[in-house]
């Protein structure tokens, strides 16, 4: 693993946090502030982590996927829709409805991934274009259906948003969650926890199993894989769809874990930041997760700063300006991509359609 990368990440997070602590110390104890920062960081990093994992599976098999944004958006919508259907139309209890919603979200992601796979593998459409198509398609479809179902009179929901079954319940991780103040960090919702577990799983799958070896071979040198009888097309389809499932799970976070409502465009570019996380993480799960945490941290940073707006000392006045603070994650991403923190190398055949 690339320790340089990780130490930089640790450094960035520490700096961000200490700034907040220094500013907020008059208002609250460091321990409370840091706990809250960490809790937020981990939670908001969830869709980024899952998005990045999605990208990793696609691209390790040689398919560039900038459609993650769209996949998450669509999944967020259809997952939420399914949950509501279950709950209001079929009168199923909230929790099962939500779980059904998560499943639906995952499947939606998979479905859009299937489309991406067909475009980029079968029809050999330029893969970045294919991803863009997914993004634009997702915006159109979700916007339109959201309207049709929840506003237009005479729709199945009578033109108004019905009682949503709420969001996934928090899970107190035994013992850890009982720690007095810090416990809050381990009081998280299911998808957040799932994301972290999936990081570990993905790592082992990619680097220590047959599936992983073949996936990476297909992404590095498909002809070589073909020559030893590996079905390149199948491997790519499979991995893109797995990626879709992961993106779908990421989408579920928005409407089933974070808030029980859907907005057109609610993913708000997270899919792209997830891509940046994937690249920064050098296409490896742990690296991507770490990167996702940086973005999570900078988001937590902004939010906390605004709570402490009035006590920001004069010499740091610029921190009072939300617009300027808001730049943090984006500038961070660009610095990362400039390779200041070490060059990244994509899979050799990433983005290249396979021709026999």
């Amino acid at each position: 693993m690339d320790w340089r990368r990780f130490s930089v990440i640790a450094l960035v997070i520490i700096i961000l946090f200490s700034v907040v602590v220094l500013i907020g110390k008059t208002k609250d104890t460091p321990i409370v502030i840091i706990t809250s920062l960490l809790a937020t960081t981990i939670a908001v990093a969830t869709p980024l982590t899952l998005g990045a994992l999605s990208g990793i599976f696609c691209e390790r098999s040689g398919v560039v996927n900038i459609g993650i944004e769209g996949m998450m958006l669509a999944a967020a919508f259809f997952g939420w829709l399914a949950a509501i259907y279950m709950n209001t139309i079929f009168k199923i209890a909230p929790l099962p409805s939500l779980i059904a919603g998560v499943v639906a979200a995952i499947l939606t992601g998979g479905l859009f991934a299937l489309l991406h796979a067909m475009l980029s593998i079968t029809y050999k459409v330029d893969q970045i274009i294919g991803g863009t198509v997914i993004n634009i398609l997702a915006v159109g479809i979700t916007g339109f259906m959201n309207r049709q179902l929840f506003f237009e009179k005479g729709s199945i929901f009578g033109g108004q948003v019905p009682h949503a079954p709420g969001v996934l319940p928090r899970i107190q991780i035994p013992f850890l969650a009982d720690i007095p103040v810090m416990g809050r960090i381990f009081d998280q919702q299911p998808l957040t926890i799932a994301a972290i577990l999936l990081v570990i799983v993905s790592h082992y799958v990619l680097f220590h199993t047959r599936w992983g070896l073949r996936t990476r071979a297909v992404g590095e040198h498909p002809r070589a894989a073909d020559a030893v009888g590996i079905n390149v097309i199948f491997m790519r389809y499979a991995n893109v769809i797995i990626g879709g499932f992961l993106a779908g799970l990421g989408g579920a976070y928005f409407t089933l874990e974070s808030v029980p409502s859907f907005e057109p465009l609610l993913t708000n570019g997270r899919g792209f930041i997830a891509l940046a996380a994937m690249i920064f993480g050098n296409w490896s799960p742990f690296g991507a997760w770490a990167a996702a945490l940086v973005f999570g941290a900078s988001q937590a940073f902004q939010i906390k700063l605004q709570l402490f707006r009035e006590v920001i000392p004069a010499q740091w006045a610029f921190l009072q300006n939300a617009y300027i603070v808001g730049l943090a994650p984006y500038i961070l991403t660009m610095l990362i991509l400039t390779g200041i923190i070490g060059k990244t190398t994509p899979p050799a055949a990433d983005g290249v359609p396979y021709e026999k």
Binding site: K27, D28, V32, I33, T35, S36, A39, T40, A43, V44, N146, R147, F150, F151, V161, P162, H163, A164, P165, G166, V167, R184, F254, S258, V259, P260, S261, E263, P264, L265, L266, N268, Q299, A300, Q302, I303, K304, Q306, L307, R309, A322, Y323, V325, G326
Partner: protein
């Protein structure tokens, strides 16, 4: 299906043009549209139509689409359409325009600016929040303060809490966060940010959260309900529009857009249409499920404050626009 001819005397048509944004925003576009629909249900209007604006450069075009079709009343929602509305009023002298949230510096014939004392609504729930808080920390999550009504809500909330403090001899810490760090397209439709911000406030000890600013506010309100603290909604009685938050919904800071729009349409029909600023009502919603969690003296205090604001014995000292 050929649309009935609005140019005819006996056909009374009402059109609505949204701000950039959707008519199903569960917030001011939607409330205004509901007012229009109510007018139709009550037989005041024969035809009602809306057009959603997709780009600010289309304001004029969208308004004239109604104007040219001979509509009698055109509702333009949002301060951003103010100038376009005034311009259209000159172009279509015998059409009545209802400008929601459009403060009229000087009267324009045919245009009624429908405004609300948001600061008072904010003041009320601010006081309520301060009185209901056990930790004496309360929060408010709002859209961008570039929008005066939003700013008035936020500052009103602050003032209300302060008033309650001096009445009750408490000291309450008030978090007020405006969502300024994104563009206009986003600031009112970022529930996830709203939720994260609310959560952060709750981590900080806040036990009442007031969410004001379209979906962003909704996100905060639902997140608050999630964490089991008191939630306060905005604009309409969100006990109904945000069912998932209903159980913890303490109240809502209401600006009664729907009736406001409805009344103005009615006046237009009856020929008693005012021009200049028309002030709708602001207030706070009933406690609903939490009826019996709110102590009697708090209820009493709230009634007192409401009365005071109405007769002017209490003032919020919040200017109409951010200085």
């Amino acid at each position: 299906p050929a649309a009935p001819d609005c140019t005819k005397q006996d056909v009374f048509c009402v059109g609505l043009v949204t701000d950039v944004g959707k008519i199903d925003d569960k917030s001011f576009n939607q409330s205004a549209w509901e007012g229009v629909q109510k007018a139709k249900e009550d037989g005041i209007a024969t035809v009602v139509q809306y057009i959603e604006t997709t780009d600010s450069k289309d304001y004029d075009k969208n308004i004239s689409t109604f104007g040219d079709a001979g509509y009698d009343v055109i509702v333009t929602v949002g301060f951003a359409l103010g100038e376009a509305t005034d311009a259209a009023a000159a172009k279509y002298p015998n059409v009545k325009f209802i400008g929601v949230d459009q403060f009229q510096a000087e009267d324009v014939p045919g245009v009624a600016g429908l405004n609300f004392p948001e600061d008072q609504a904010g003041f009320l729930v601010g006081a309520l929040a301060a009185m209901m808080s056990k930790s004496h920390k309360i929060g408010s999550v709002l859209g961008t303060d570039a929008v005066p009504p939003v700013w008035r809500f936020g500052e009103g909330y602050r003032a209300g809490a302060a008033y309650a403090d001096q009445e009750m001899g408490t000291t309450t810490e008030v978090f007020v966060v405006y969502h300024n760090d994104v563009g206009f397209d986003k600031t009112f439709v970022d529930p996830e940010w709203g939720a994260a911000t609310a959560n952060s406030m709750i981590d900080q000890g806040a036990d009442v959260i007031f969410g004001a600013g379209g979906k962003t506010g909704n996100g905060a309100v639902t997140a608050a309900a999630q964490r089991g603290v008191y939630a306060i909604g905005v604009d309409t009685d969100q006990y109904y529009t945000l069912p998932e938050a209903a159980p913890r919904m303490l109240s809502s800071a209401m600006k009664l857009i729907t009736p406001g729009v409805y009344d103005l349409i009615k006046m237009a029909k009856e020929g008693s249409f005012p021009s200049g600023n028309y002030f709708g009502q602001a207030g706070y919603a009933p406690y609903h499920d939490l009826e019996n969690e709110v102590p009697a003296e708090v209820k009493a205090k709230m009634d007192e404050i409401a009365a005071g604001l109405l007769d002017g014995s209490i003032t919020t000292n919040v200017p109409p626009v951010k200085p």
